[in-house]
Symmetry: none
Subunit: 140 residues, 2 copies
């Protein structure tokens, strides 16, 4: 009596999607945990496909992925291929580098890029004078 109804939530697909997105963005499990509200331990289990996350956590993650929940139900749309190529260049964030990156960001207007660049230049000068540690924190 308990088995004519199969599970509808495709946990593996969700786990793969979260893992892929997380790696694309270069985030740690705790980063995603801070953003989504799903704990790192639960996140680890989801990415490894063990167990079934509850509804709230599924909602949080599909919301973070910006993907409709129907996507993680069994037998729906095939997923679209990678839409967001991300290349990561860990560099020393000198004002020159930052300015170049800001100018290259097509999501910012030139005015915004200039303002942020100038703001960063001032802050960087202040920071460099009051501290001897490297202002960069490289990640992989």
């Amino acid at each position: 009596m308990t088995r004519p109804f199969k599970a509808l939530v495709n946990t593996e697909e969700l786990g793969r999607a979260v893992h892929r997105r997380r790696e694309e963005l270069g985030l740690s499990l705790r980063d995603v945990a801070n953003v989504t509200g799903v704990s790192a331990s639960t996140l680890s289990r989801i990415e490894n496909g063990t167990g079934k996350p509850d509804a709230d956590n599924i909602a949080r993650l599909t919301s973070w992925l910006d993907v409709p929940m129907e996507r993680i139900l069994s037998g729906r749309h095939p997923q679209s291929a990678a839409a967001n190529p991300v290349v990561y260049y860990p560099q020393e964030p000198t004002p020159e580098i930052v300015e170049a990156h800001l100018r290259a960001d097509r999501n910012l207007t030139p005015e915004t890029a200039s303002a942020l660049s100038e703001l960063f230049r001032v802050a960087y000068a202040q920071f460099s004078r009051t501290s001897n540690e490297k202002p960069t924190k490289k990640r992989r």
Copy 2:
């Protein structure tokens, strides 16, 4: 610490919808149980808004109602989700949290996110030093 993350699943709305549909069709709880695979007891709890159903049961019921799952979520915009996602989880803006949010922002390049994160960290440190001296981590 985990408080700023509210529940996303609107159980009351789901319960009302199921109850309305069930009465429209003149079905008993056990009738719906036989059709959907959700037990009558669980169905009773859902209609009365008690507790939070798991993902499978939500999926079964939304499928039975023929209603998109987003309907029973709060804080999601199924249509207009394109460029301006809502901030669902306001948090204490420590540099770690801000960095996580920025790096998770798919509208920013990783370089821009890093630059803004660094900028915020510098400003935050400056502010913390001049004001209340509230270190964010176990820095001794």
